[in-house]
């Protein structure tokens, strides 16, 4: 049960009810952002953040650094395999 989609918070529509428009490839929908406002932040501070949207709620902030770490690791994996293959004298197909 867990269809969650990354989107970017575009603008706050209701500060009191913590509602904001989220943008997914140009599609906009009002969502609740209570779960992604961190301590000491206001609703406005979340504008521009990437979040995971599930049933009309922004459930979690997406950590761009962590995403990059995962991608770098996977990229390095491909390169390491290519090197290992080259050492064995085989051409790696990537």
């Amino acid at each position: 049960m867990c269809l969650g989609i990354p989107g970017q918070i575009a603008e706050v529509t209701n500060t009191e009810a913590k509602l904001a428009l989220v943008d997914v490839l140009g599609v906009r929908r009002e969502v609740n952002i209570a779960c992604v406002i961190r301590d000491g932040e206001t609703a406005e501070d979340v504008v521009g953040a990437w979040v995971l949207v599930h049933v009309g709620f922004a459930m979690s902030r997406i950590d761009e650094k962590e995403a990059q770490i995962t991608l770098d690791l996977l990229h390095a994996l491909g390169e390491a395999q290519a090197e290992a293959a080259a050492l064995r004298g085989v051409e790696a197909t990537t």
């Binding site: 867990c2 997914v24 779960c35 197909t93």
Partner: protein, 375 residues
Amino acid sequence: MKFVDEFRDPSTAKALLREVTACLDQLGATEQNPVQVMEVCGGHTHSIFRYALKDLVPKSLEFVHGPGCPVCVLPMGRVDDCIAIAQRPEVIFTTFGDAMRVPGSKLSLLQARANGADVRMVYSPLDALSLAQQHPDREVVFFGLGFETTMPSTAMTVLEAKRRGLKNFSLFCNHITIVPTIKAVLDSPGMRIDGFIGPGHVAMVTGSAPFRFIAERYHRPLVISGFEPNDILQSLWMVLRQLLEKRPRVENQYARLVDPDGNRVGMQAIAEVFELREFFEWRGLGSIDHSGVRMRAPYAAFDAERKFTVPNAKIADPKSCQCGEVIKGVLKPQQCKVFGKACTPRTPLGALMVSSEGACAAYYQYSTHAVEEVA
């Protein structure tokens, strides 16, 4: 699409598949004696079929499709209760689209709508709240279902209904919790699962702590995983490496989203509104202790179960249904006696044929049964 397309890169998938294959070889896995990895969440099952990952991994790896489709595991009696509420003339019954086709003992919500019940699909519980404000003369009931991922949204919707002083909004609560269910699978006789791909979006809410017992008590690896194909392949690789190291633990592949401590606001809302039920009935698995939640007494005014009398009848699963064996990984979907015969997506008998996230429905829809059908 940012944070999606990067994790669907085919060349990365190939690199991961080579690592997965190497691990399986080192583990001595064979087609006859495969490593069995359960993906707990229906969302993972969907990705595995949509991207045909099942066919890309070596035959010495078997995906076992877990109980993580809350639509599938909803027992018939609860669907009957929904329909009883929906058929009341004052009620606007709101639901996620997923639940529309789930059969009760006589009708599904889709059929109840055709028979005149006011059943409306919504994208969010917030939309049900808006309907309640637009129709002060009607009773708007929201069909709350799902695991911990979805619980904060319904809990916060109830809190918002209270804040707005709405008297005509209530929740029919069918939320279930994943941990007791994994435990029930692990405790069942004949269980053969070697490791778990953990539910990323549940963990986003709960954090990773609730899953630790799987490593500590049952000595099985669990990797909390994202839902894109490369997320799943990477998680699979991490599970296999744990098996090689013989050091089972909880790892987090989905660090871009999952904070090990979970989401504080979401968990607070859950704790405020919900409490554990002593047991909850699951289609295909029977009664599991502490596997469901109900609304706490201070929110009784928003509890559809208290507001409306429902039949609350327990309806046994069909005898021929072997969903329980499939969920535990003892049987593959097509090994079930009724798969594709008495039980098809058009006429589902068992839980796993009900929703497109169900393992049997996915097998049926995405596999080549149609060849025989038309040839």
